[in-house]
């Protein structure tokens, strides 16, 4: 049994100095994913069989571009946090775990920048 007070236990945000930030951001992005994924599914379905010119013309609309960008940010953030937990659960070697965690962060960041670059390029005109 801990003799520490509840206040004492939350001060300093635990051993990782991160508190519940990871858990909370997983929920925040889960909630933002809901409307954004509905938008994404509608966007994809309405462009099935569309030519590249039609896709580019749609993304030229600022609302579509901004919603697409928000979707990619929210989804990539959520999946980075999710895979981080999977890695922490199953990858036990100290070095390989660190490498996997770094690869997860770098890969999702690269995907995000690539997606945003593509969206902005289409939106601002090719």
């Amino acid at each position: 049994m801990s003799m520490r007070t509840p206040l004492g236990m939350v001060r300093g945000l635990g051993s990782a100095r991160d508190g519940t930030h990871h858990w909370w951001m997983q929920r925040v992005t889960a909630i933002s994913n809901i409307p954004l994924i509905i938008f994404l599914i509608a966007f994809v379905i309405s462009h099935l069989g569309a030519s590249r010119a039609e896709v580019v013309a749609s993304v030229a609309n600022p609302f579509v571009a901004i919603l697409l960008a928000l979707t990619m940010i929210s989804v990539l953030w959520h999946m980075r946090l999710g895979l981080q937990v999977v890695i922490e659960d199953y990858v036990h070697g100290h070095g390989t775990r660190l490498a996997a965690l770094l690869a997860n962060s770098f890969f999702t960041a690269a995907l995000g920048v690539a997606a945003l670059y593509a969206i902005l390029k289409m939106s601002f005109g090719l």
Binding site: R27, A30, I31, N33, I34, I37, I41, I45, S46, L48, G49, R52, V55, V56, V59, L68, M72, V75, L76, M79, G82, L83, V86, L111, A114, A115, Y117, A118, I119, K121, M122, L126
Partner: protein, 132 residues
């Protein structure tokens, strides 16, 4: 010295011998679909970058996704996405401290499977309707 008594406390489940339960499989499946969606998002970004690059490249990617195997992968992607989303709603409910009643948990698990299959098929029916 007294005889050492064998521990009868509940031990952590060994997955090889533990009787599979629906809620346990759903938990595993939620994580598995999450990992699968990682690959799905890579495909999504691939499609976006192709659309931003050139007609030729876009047509190649469209050809891959239009192939029967590409469509099979996209169908799996859709199901994983819908399943993870519907399952995620359960998790958000549990996060509020509600919905831990065991019969309700069972019903929600079954509803997640049923809803995810129905929504996925519905989306593909709409998709094929849009294309034809």
């Amino acid at each position: 010295m007294a005889e050492l008594k064998k521990a009868e406390r509940p031990l952590s489940p060994h997955l090889q011998i533990y009787r599979p339960m629906l809620t346990m499989m759903m938990s595993i499946f939620h994580r598995a679909t999450g990992v699968a969606l990682y690959a799905g998002v890579v495909l999504m970004v691939w499609w976006l970058t192709a659309a931003a690059t050139s007609d030729e490249y876009f047509n190649i990617v469209q050809g891959v996704f239009g192939h029967w195997f590409g469509r099979l992968v996209l169908f799996g992607f859709t199901w994983a996405l819908v399943h993870h989303a519907v399952g995620g709603l359960r998790h958000l409910l549990w996060d509020t401290g509600r919905g831990f009643d065991l019969p309700l948990v069972e019903v929600m698990a079954k509803a997640t499977v049923g809803l995810s299959v129905v929504i996925t098929i519905l989306l593909w029916v709409i998709g094929y309707g849009v294309m034809s």
